[in-house]
Symmetry: C2
Subunit: 347 residues, 2 copies
């Protein structure tokens, strides 16, 4: 398994996030990737390389230029407001709901923060852009390697990506790595790409980016959004729109769903993926489905992740794994690498 | 000037609000109304009465039943989450931007907070519903008194209302008092009502509630939303939609606009109001246009408020004044009562 590693991921190191009304230490922290990297090394799962930088145009295939410009300049704009801000992460406090406009970008920086975000759990820090951009490089490189003949690749990066939309951040995500990977393969000549999102949380960003298109099938297994983040998307009745009708598959599971129910959903997902006959598969690999995850309520055990990798391998598709969520830091390395090893050894 | 006073306003007493990323003491506090009440008493401007309670149906003419139900139960739902919440105000931390759904109400209370809000500067407290409902009673009573032949009335209440939409709160506002007053008069047989909003901030809620209707003309003089709250609405190109086209007039003024420019805009507003020939006028009376206001950047002096009242009186319309913003607490009474006295004595 060829791994593209984001050496700059730790430049995104949030101090706090708002969680249920309180400022708490960030769940999404650099140690997450460190654990996975260490476990990869221990098991010797293959080469670990640093990605080439991709041009801005690659990002603009998924994200709006206006949003990218905001994100690139956000930290310096924030500190320009007040030098004391250098010691504080930036959070939004006002946002455009129904009836409010998103077409005019306000001059006020706090208003821009709200225009381009969906929560106050996602700090913008001094290194956010650098880490997110290098992470996107990882994802696009991992996808490109499939085009060059690799059977499977892994983008080991943070911050994660699947909650980020075309023009907003949230859920710890800024650039949608999975969407960028899929779009890159299409732009490189592929005609059909599938994305399977097995993070505990619905990949609302990825869904929304491809919702009206038939060249990307999006399939997601996740906790019911009625009770879990992202709350406002991920229902079973979201099946795509226009040309995309039938190319979006949500498999929400209730709070506390059994591991058996989870694997049954995986079978449904695999069936849909096979019927689509994609040229490659992108996996949004979150392991916050783990029983010990501090944010989640599913019950998967470490050994289950071997089975997941094995099952995905049987699809017989060139596959790029993109690291998403998972907050039980101690077990994170084992769980993620179990998926990869399960995939590799099933062949 | 017959004044309807909300005796329960101080039940809404926020501990803090988020302002530019920090938790700060609330600007919108009970002392605001106390100052106005004291000044009204000092000048003996007329009878001060308590309003009759209006039925839920009256509120449902402007706000969605789902939103009203949320608001009525918000505090008990918040405390039910955790008894320790009784000592904390409730703030949203996640919200449905573009591509996210508002049609399904999540079960999760924090997600409901975000579904029904536009900022984290507006605390929900134990007494918020009581204060807001009694405030709405004041506004509807003030409007009804015009129907019964009063020349001018005043709804002295807080929290304010003009930022609240049909199904969201924000900008210190929960129920849209001005919209409820206008709608009540229409339901009571009036055919055309005008609303003039002279608060420093654009009345985005009021605009959005009547945006596609021709029976309510909405005219607003306010700071340019590119740099001031509510940021995402209030531009000059918003002129109404469908049947409402031509019945929405925004007169944004740049940061630091002169008092001369403000009064020139008032003349434009008055011209539009006269052309509409409404049966009554509702004035969203904010005095955060005052030079000493801590949140604002216009330069009106206390004497200017006498001129405003006088100018509005010359329109010759039955007029209900609804108290909105204004945060220079010490001068608040004088400024507000100057408008009312200017109106009364111009005749
Ligand atoms: Zn997740
Ligand atoms: Zn105001």
């Amino acid at each position: 398994m060829l791994t593209f590693y984001n050496e700059l991921h730790s430049q995104h190191r949030g101090r706090h996030e708002f969680f249920r009304g309180e400022l708490v230490p960030c769940f999404e922290k650099p140690e997450r990737v460190d654990q996975v990297l260490a476990e990869l090394g221990r098991r010797g799962l293959g080469q670990i390389v640093t990605p080439h930088s991709v041009p801005p145009m690659t990002l603009e295939r998924v994200h709006t230029p206006r949003y990218l410009s905001f994100l690139r300049n956000a930290w310096s704009d924030w500190v320009a407001l007040d030098p004391a801000n250098a010691n504080k992460d930036a959070f939004p406090a006002v946002w455009p709901v129904r009836t409010l406009r998103a077409d005019i970008e306000p001059d006020n920086f706090c208003a821009k923060l709200g225009l381009y975000s969906m929560d106050s759990g996602t700090p913008i820090t001094s290194g956010t852009w650098t880490a997110a951009k290098t992470g996107a490089d990882c994802a696009v490189n991992a996808a490109h390697a499939l085009r060059l003949g690799e059977r499977a690749t892994f983008a080991l990066t943070r911050p994660p990506g699947h909650h980020a939309g075309a023009d907003f951040y949230g859920g710890y995500c800024f650039l949608n790595n999975a969407a960028l990977a899929a779009q890159h393969m299409l732009d490189d000549g592929a005609r059909k790409i599938a994305i399977l999102d097995i993070d505990y949380h619905h990949g609302n960003g990825t869904q929304s980016i491809f919702y009206d298109r038939s060249d990307v099938l999006f399939v997601s297994i996740h906790a019911d959004p009625r009770s879990e983040y992202p709350f406002y998307l991920g229902h079973a009745d979201e099946t795509g729109h226009g040309a995309g009708l039938g190319y979006n598959v949500n498999l929400p599971l209730p709070h506390g769903a059994s591991t058996q129910a989870w694997f049954a959903a995986l079978e449904t997902a695999c069936l849909r993926l096979q019927m689509f006959q994609p040229e490659a598969l992108i996996v949004s690999l979150g392991v916050d489905t783990f029983a010990g995850d501090p944010l989640s309520h599913f019950g998967l055990q470490s050994a289950d992740y071997l089975r997941i990798g094995e099952r995905l391998s049987y699809l017989g598709l060139p596959t790029a794994f993109i690291f998403e969520g998972g907050y039980a830091v101690k077990e994170l390395g084992v769980n993620v690498v179990n998926v990869l090893e399960g995939f590799d050894t099933a062949l």
